[in-house]
Amino acid sequence: MSASLRKERRAALAWSYVFLVLFAVIFLTPPLYMFITSLKTSAEISSAKLPWWVFHPTLDNYSALLTSPAYLTFFRNSAVVCVAVVAITMAISIPAAFSLSRMRFWGSGALATGVFLTYLIPETLLFIPLFKIFAFVQDWTGIELMNHWWILIVIFPTLTVPFCTWIMIGYFASIPKELDEAALIDGAGYLQVLTRIFLPVALPGVIAATIFAFTVSWADFLYPMAFATSIDQMVLPAGIVSTLIKGDVFNWGQIMTAALLGAAPPLVIYAFLMDYYIAGLTAGATKG
């Protein structure tokens, strides 16, 4: 490599770092500011001396929230909903992906495409008709669907199942056919092929799909705002936004703490399982 080319490379590298630092600062400012504010007392916030620094750090906001029954209820509702949604999603997606990628039946090709297309239908289009449909169901059967946290367990799978099925079809399709054919010849049933061969081999895909299902149902905001509106039925994002922001009361320290704690579960999962998280994110497009 010539000297001038090497010099050019080094300059490019230096500029890359400069801009990466710049973008990292921009990207991380809001979460950092959340953290800074969460350590402040209301008095320090309203004095507005230097918003970017904490002079008297305190954990009062954290202890206040972690002992607040309302906040703990939001957290519990969120956790129960997300775990249930992940379980339902896997129970539906794994057999469906196995069936669509390996077994085939009349219309299965069209269904695989259809699954992908339903992933594109946004909740914005569905929340109003669902609202009316839930009212119908109540008129017919007497079951009150609206305004219960568990209704989210029923509707969140519409956000998670299509995408999870889609990425698992991709993972399953990459498993060599000879593997399951050999098992079938040896007398294994389809269920055995699925649990003994497909799941272990496609485990990274299953983990990626699990992470996706969890983070999507943890973060969703529109359905909870529409369907779980009384205080004891709310999940985290909707709960924080609708109960803590009261305009006149100066409790931004607590709001930022609540938001930060609410963002913690996805952040922790991301920190420990980053590669799976990213695999799930990119699988949808690159495997299509």
């Binding site: 890359s16 979460p31 259809g114 339903t118 946004p122 008709p129 099925t165 049933g189």
Partner: protein, 309 residues
């Protein structure tokens, strides 16, 4: 339940040695049963509501009388409706363009540095995408606060005027786009980075030997090689951004004077809060054109791959 059926049937197949045709039919029945929960879910909670909203949109406010296209006629006469269309298009297009550009540029910076440092940077830069948008938008809301804005604190220290981030229509429109770009750019970054890794290094070496400059390398190698990923990412992002709810709802709730409403927030306000479900359904139906375009491109892409294979 379906699993039990599958297990019983699946295990019995080899033992009974059915004829090939019956086996095939049997196999497709099991396959269908395994996919049945998926079909039921999609039919009941996605397809049915989507079709039902077409019917809902033709009813009057109390949902007792069929009014045909009356709701649409009513919407078309309202100036606010055209404003919302315009704002949604401006919001979605400019946000997606900036997300795509920033993602592309930053992906190159990450790709440029030595491989062992890339993981760390990628990990940091994806954080905005990992935080639930409702939570991070609260942080932005607080950063934009009219009297305690931390941004304005910096601006006034360096001798500039304080900015009414959410108080004036133009600035509020800018702010919702800014937050959306901040949230979505990391997604583009990750997708592009994955795509950049798949471009063979030899192509750049060959181009360098031919004397291509960096711009020519991007234009003639990188962009053509990444075309598919760019297309599908932009398409996804367009749909999601057109349908955005959380950011606008939390930052401005459509204000000031309804100038930042997008389809989702306006439909929510009309349908759920205002109690006029049919009118809300009408507004959200305007998502269909963009969905139709997306479906067209995706189906075309799938068919093309199918014939190539």
């Amino acid at each position: 339940m379906a699993n039990g059926v599958v297990q019983a049937a699946g295990l019995s197949v080899p033992r009974r040695r059915r004829s090939g045709r019956r086996l095939a039919r049997h196999k497709s029945t099991i396959a269908f049963l395994m996919a049945l929960p998926l079909i039921a879910l999609i039919a009941a909670l996605v397809i049915y509501p989507a079709l039902y909203s077409l019917h809902l949109a033709t009813l009057n406010k109390s949902m007792e009388r069929f009014v045909g296209l009356g709701n649409f006629a009513f919407l078309f006469k309202r100036e606010l409706f055209w404003m919302v269309i315009k704002q949604t298009v401006i919001f979605a297009l400019s946000a997606v363009i900036f997300k795509a550009l920033i993602g592309f540029v930053v992906a190159h910076f990450v790709h440029n540095i030595p491989a062992k440092g890339q993981r760390k940077w990628r990990g940091m830069l994806l954080v905005p995408w990992v935080i639930p948008p409702a939570m991070s938008t609260l942080a932005w809301f607080w950063l934009f606060d009219p009297s305690y804005s931390a941004f304005n604190w910096v601006l006034t220290r360096v001798g500039l005027d304080a900015v009414p981030w959410l108080g004036e229509p133009l600035w509020a429109r800018f702010s919702v786009i800014l937050v959306n770009v901040w949230y979505g750019a990391p997604f583009f970054l990750i997708m592009y980075l994955a795509a950049l890794k798949s471009v063979p290094e030899q192509l750049y070496e060959a181009a360098a030997i031919d004397g291509a400059n960096w711009w020519q390398k991007i234009w003639y190698i990188t962009l053509p090689m990444m075309r598919n990923i760019i297309a599908i990412t932009v398409l996804f992002s367009l749909i999601v951004t057109f349908a955005n709810f959380d950011i606008v709802r939390i930052l401005t709730n459509g204000g000031p004077i309804d100038q930042t409403h997008v389809f989702a927030t306006w439909a929510f306000q009309l349908g759920i809060e205002g109690g006029d479900l049919p009118l809300g359904a009408c507004v959200s139906l305007f998502m269909f054109p963009i969905l139709g375009v997306a479906a067209y491109f995706i189906l075309r892409d799938i068919n093309r791959r199918g014939t190539e294979a």
